[in-house]
C-alpha cells in the first residue's frame, strides 16, 4: 500500500469519527458501509506503516474494535465482512457506492488484498486486539517480502478470510463452475425459498413472496432449458429434500417449464409460466381456494363467480407481469374440464383451457406418481411415464403428454436401468433431441469414477437399455461380452 498522505489519514491518525451515531447501524447498508470502509481502511493503512508494538497501531486496533463492537451490539449479524471485487467494495454483502476519494483508497486496499490473495475479511463478534494485530503483522510481512507470498494458514477464532484474487474476472471465476452444479444450486435455492414461503404461510407469519429472486431463479432455469441443458431434471428424483406441497410445487413448475420450453417459446414466457405455477400453489396454501373445491363441475355461473372471487382475492398481489396474468388465468380456469371450450360466463368468446394449466396438470401428475400419493406407492420414473401415457388418453392433454414423454425419453432422468451388458446405470439426462427416446444420458454405476455417457452417441451404438429396474432389485447375471460394449472403437 502506498504511503499516500493526500488520500489517507495522517500516520497514527486512526481515529474513527464517532459523532455520527447512525454510522454504526448496519441496517442502513450504504451509510454503514461507508463508515465501515473508512474504519477498515484506517486500520489497515496504519498497520501497513507502523509496527505492531507502536502506539499508533495499538490505537488503530482499539478504535476498530470499538467501532465493530458497537455495530454488532444491536444486530443479529455474527460478523462484519469487508470484500473487494475489482473496483467495488462490499460490506456485509452490499456493494457500496464510494466517493472519488474513497475509490482511490479502495485501490490501495485492493493492492494489499491482491498481494495477500484475499477477497474478503470477516470480523466476528468477540474479535480480540491480538487477532487484529496478528493479521496486520501477516499483511505487513507479505507486503515487505521479496518473493510472492499469500495469506495462508492464518487461523484465528474471530477473524476469517476468503482466499482468491480481488481482481478476479467474473467470467474467469465462472469458468470453474459446471452447469451441473449451477443447475443443482438453482434448484436447491428454489426449493428452500418456496419451502420457507409455504412454512411462513402456514404459520401465518410473513406471507410475502420474494418475487424478484423467485423470478430470477426460474428465469435462469428457463434459460438453461433454452440452451438445451436439462441437468436440473436430476434433482426432483433425488431424496435430498423432504416431500411436501412446496417441493411438489417446485417440481411441478420445473416439469411444466420443460414442456413450455419444448413448444419453442422464449425463456421469458417459460419462466413466467413456472413462476405462475409456484404462485398459484402459494395462493392455494394461503387459502384462496378455500370453500371452492365443491364448485368444480358446478353449473357455469357458480363456478365462474367462485373463480372470479378467487382472482379478486389475489388482485392486490398482481403486478401487470406475464406471471401475474398466468396466475390469474390458472385461478380463473380451475375446475374446468380440459376437453371443454370455455365461453360465457368465463369469457365472451369461446376459448380452450390454457396451455399452462394443461402443462401443470401433467407435471403434477408425474411428480405425484414419483412421490406416491393418495395411498399409492412411489413409482420409478419409467413406470410413472407409462402411467402418464395411459392417462394422456383421458385426463390429460394427449399432445402435451406426448411432448413430455418425447423430451423425457422412455427412461426418464432418475431411472435405474439394466443395460444389455447386465450393467447397472442411472439415467442422468434425457435423450438428445436427435437421439431415439430410449437412448438417454446415463451414469455407469459400476465403473470407476461412474462416468456419464450419451447413449445417443454413435460410439455407443452397440449398447442398449434392457429394462428399468426397481430400487434394490438384484442384478441379473452379467453378459460375458458386456465389458466390451463401451469400448470406443
Amino acid at each position: 500500500m502506498d504511503d499516500d498522505r493526500s488520500t489517507g489519514p495522517a500516520p497514527g491518525d486512526s481515529s474513527i469519527p464517532t459523532d455520527d451515531q447512525g454510522a454504526t447501524d448496519p441496517s442502513d447498508p450504504q451509510r454503514f458501509g461507508e463508515a465501515f470502509f473508512d474504519a477498515v481502511y484506517r486500520m489497515l493503512k496504519v498497520g501497513s506503516i507502523f509496527e505492531s508494538d507502536q502506539e499508533q497501531t495499538r490505537n488503530a486496533v482499539d478504535d476498530f474494535r470499538s467501532f465493530a463492537r458497537k455495530s454488532l451490539a444491536d444486530t443479529s449479524l455474527r460478523a462484519l465482512s469487508f470484500g473487494i471485487r475489482g473496483e467495488f467494495a462490499s460490506v456485509n454483502g452490499h456493494t457500496i457506492r464510494l466517493s472519488q476519494q474513497d475509490q482511490r483508497r479502495l485501490r490501495e486496499l485492493r493492492e494489499l488484498f491482491a498481494d495477500a490473495e484475499i477477497r474478503t475479511l470477516s470480523f466476528g463478534r468477540n474479535l480480540t486486539a491480538d487477532e487484529l494485530v496478528e493479521l496486520l503483522d501477516e499483511l505487513r510481512e507479505i507486503r515487505n517480502a521479496d518473493e510472492e507470498q499469500r495469506l495462508e494458514g492464518f487461523e484465528t477464532s474471530h477473524l476469517e478470510y476468503d482466499s482468491g484474487s480481488p481482481d478476479r474476472d467474473v467470467l474467469e471465476a465462472l469458468g470453474e463452475v459446471t452447469v451441473r452444479e449451477y443447475s443443482a444450486h438453482l434448484y436447491l435455492r428454489l426449493a428452500v425459498k418456496v419451502g420457507r414461503l409455504h412454512e411462513r404461510i402456514e404459520e401465518e407469519s410473513d406471507t410475502t413472496a420474494d418475487l424478484p429472486t423467485l423470478r430470477r431463479i426460474v428465469d435462469r432455469i428457463a434459460e438453461l432449458f433454452d440452451g438445451d441443458r436439462f441437468d436440473i431434471l436430476r434433482l426432483p428424483t433425488t431424496d435430498l429434500l423432504e416431500a411436501g406441497p412446496a417441493l411438489h410445487s417446485v417440481n411441478t413448475a420445473i416439469y411444466s417449464m420443460l414442456m413450455i420450453d419444448r413448444l419453442g417459446l422464449r425463456p421469458g414466457r417459460v419462466g413466467a409460466s413456472g413462476l405462475a405455477i409456484l404462485l398459484r400453489d402459494v395462493d392455494r396454501t394461503r387459502g384462496v381456494d378455500l370453500a371452492d373445491p365443491a364448485e368444480a363441475g358446478a353449473p357455469n355461473e357458480r363456478l365462474a363467480t367462485a373463480n372470479a372471487r378467487a382472482v379478486a382475492r389475489v388482485s392486490g398481489r398482481l403486478d401487470g407481469s406475464p406471471a401475474s396474468s398466468l396466475r390469474a388465468i390458472l385461478l380463473h380456469e380451475r375446475g374446468i374440464e380440459l376437453e371443454r371450450t370455455i365461453g360465457p360466463p368465463f369469457y365472451k368468446r369461446e376459448r380452450r383451457v390454457h396451455v399452462v394449466r394443461r402443462a401443470a396438470d401433467i407435471a403434477r401428475t408425474y411428480d405425484r406418481l414419483l412421490a406416491g400419493s393418495d395411498g399409492n406407492e412411489p413409482r420409478d420414473p419409467s413406470t410413472a411415464i407409462e402411467a402418464l401415457k395411459r392417462r394422456g388418453d383421458s385426463e390429460l392433454d394427449p399432445a402435451l403428454v406426448e411432448l413430455f414423454v418425447e423430451t423425457m425419453g422412455d427412461y426418464p432422468v432418475g431411472t435405474t436401468v439394466e443395460l444389455s451388458s447386465g450393467e447397472r446405470a442411472r439415467v442422468v439426462g434425457p435423450p438428445a433431441a436427435e437421439s431415439a427416446s430410449d437412448r438417454p444420458h446415463i451414469r455407469l454405476l459400476e465403473r470407476d469414477g461412474q462416468p456419464v455417457v450419451d447413449l445417443g452417441d454413435p460410439n455407443y451404438q452397440r449398447a442398449s437399455i434392457d429394462r428399468a429396474v426397481a430400487e434394490g432389485e438384484e442384478p441379473t447375471e452379467a453378459d460375458d461380452s458386456g465389458d466390451d460394449l463401451f469400448l470406443l472403437d
Binding site: R97, T178, G268, S321, L400
Partner: protein, 590 residues
Amino acid sequence: MAATSTDDPDKLSTRRREELRLGRRCFDTLERFLEAAESYPPGHPVVDEALDNTEDAFDSLFRHTDQMVVRLEDHRTCLLGTEESVWETSRPEDYCFALSRDGVFLLYFLGGLQRREIRKFGLVLRRLDQEEVDVDATAALYDADFTHLEFRALDGSMAWLAGLNADALRQDSEEERREVRELFGRLSDADAGLREPDGDALTADELFRTQLKTRSERRRELQNGTEQMLNLRPSLQDALGELKQGLLTVDEFESRYGEILAGVLARNPNEELVSRVASEIADVMVRLVEGDEPSEALTFLKAVHTWRGAFEDEAARALQTALRDHLSDDRIRSLVDEVADAKPAVRRPILRLLDALDSEEGSRQVLGLLEWELGDETERDIYRFLQKRASSGLGFAGDALDSLPDDEAERVVDIACEAMPETRSFLVDSLPRDIGEELKVRALEALEDHWRDSREIRQYVLPLLNARTSELRTAATRAVEKGAPDQVRSVLQAKLEDEAFYERPKPEIEAVVTALAREGGEKGLEAIEEAIRCRLYAGSSRREFASKAVRSLVKVPTPRVADLLESVSDDWMVPGSVRSACDEVLQVIG
C-alpha cells in the same frame, strides 16, 4: 470517450474486425444519443436524429452478424472473446461501472433490435449514469423486459459457486444460504460427478458464451417448435402449435387475462377492488404498449371492452382514469414516434388505440407530427385520426395550431369546421391565434349560429373588425350581427361616419349596412339614411359608397326600409345615381 482498442486488432479475423468496427460505431452513436437526450427534451429533432443514427448503426451491425455480445468491465465494454474495447471511458462513474457494480457482466444485442428498444435501453443507461439516483442495474434491466437485448448478471448461485463477492449473494437470507449450503454439501457427497467436468459438463462460462440461439434457430423454434416437437406426428404438432398460441399471441394471452379482469369489474366489486383491478388492466396495457407490437394493446383493450356493458359507471370511470394515469408522456411519445415511422399495419392500430384511450397528450403529439416531412399515406392517416378526434372537440390542438405550417393548419381548421358544433371551443380559441386570416374567416363562418353570448363576441370577434383583410372584417361583422345583435349599433354605426370605410369592397359595406338595418333599431336606420342621403356636391367615392349601401338594403325588405328609400329617392338634393339605386331596390322589395 471514443471507442479505442487495447490490443492489436489485426490478430482478429476479418469478420471479427468488422464486427468490432460496427460495434464501436453502435456504442459511439449510442453515447451521442444519450448526450442529446440529456440536453434536449424527448421528441426534439436533435434527439431523434441521434436515435436515427444509433438505429442505423445497429442495422449495419446486424447486416453483418445476428448478435453482438459484449463483456462489461468497470469502465469499458469489450467484444466477448477478445480484449478489444468496444467502448471505454475515463470517467470515474459511468453506466459500465453501474452495470458491473450490480453484477451485470454480459450484454447481448440481438438482431431485430429496433428504435423502441434502443430508446428504452438508453433510458435505462441514463438512469444508471445519474449518480444521485440509486438504481439497481439488474432490476432496471429486468423491468425493461427487452426482447432483443439480453444480459447476464451474477445471481446468488453463480456468486456463491464462483466465490465472488457480489450483492447477488443477498438474494437469499442468511438462513436460506445456510440451508442451501448444507443441502448442496450433501448433494456433492452423494453425487461425485457434480463438480467434475466430465464429457457432458459444460462450464457456466462456456454456456454463457454459446447459449444464445442464432436468429434462424430461434425463428424456426418459434414458428415450428423444438426438435422434440417436430419428432411427433403431424396431428400432434398441429395441436401443440395451437396450444402454444396461449403464450404467444395477445389475443390468446393478454386478452384472455383482460377478459378475466374485466369479468371481475363486471361483478359489482367494491371501490377498492375496482381500483386494484383497473390499475392491473392499465399495467398490462402499458406492458403491451412498451412491447414489440404496441398496437396490440388495442386488441387487449377491445377484449376488456367486450365486458364494458356490464360495468357500473364508477368502474368505467376508474378504468379510464387508470389508463390515462399509467400512460406517461414518455410512453405516449414512443407510441407517436411509431406513427411517424411505422408501416400502415402498425400505424393505424396505434392511432386507433390513442383514439380509444381518449388521450389528449397523444392526440397533441400526433398533431405535432404534421410539422414534419411525412409520407402522403401517413399524413392521410393522421387526418383521419384527427377527424375522429374532432368528435371530442380538438381541445388538444389549440397550441399546436401556432406552429403548424399553413397548409396543415388549414386542414385542421377545416376538420374542426366540419365537426361543428363539437369543435366550437377549438374554433373560438383559434380566432386570436397567429394563423392565416382566411382560416379565421372559415372559423367565423362555421361559428355563425353557435355564439354563446355577447361577451364572447367582445373578446374574440371585435378585434377582428379591424383585421387586415376585408374578408375577415366582413365575416367578423356578420358574427357580431349573429352573436351580439344588441351590440350592433354601438360597434358598427361609427363605420358609416368613417371616410376610409367608403372605399371598402361591397361585401364589407353590405355586411355593416344590413346588420345596422336589421339589428340597429331606429337609430341604426337613421345612421344609414344619413350615410346614403349624400348631397349633389359629394365626391365620387362618397356617391359610390351611398349607392352600394342602398343596394345592400335589398336584403332587408321591411316597410321601414322602403319608406327610407322612398324618402331618399324623392330628395332632389341627392345625386341621381343614388336616387336611381333607391328606385331599383324599391322595385325589388315592392
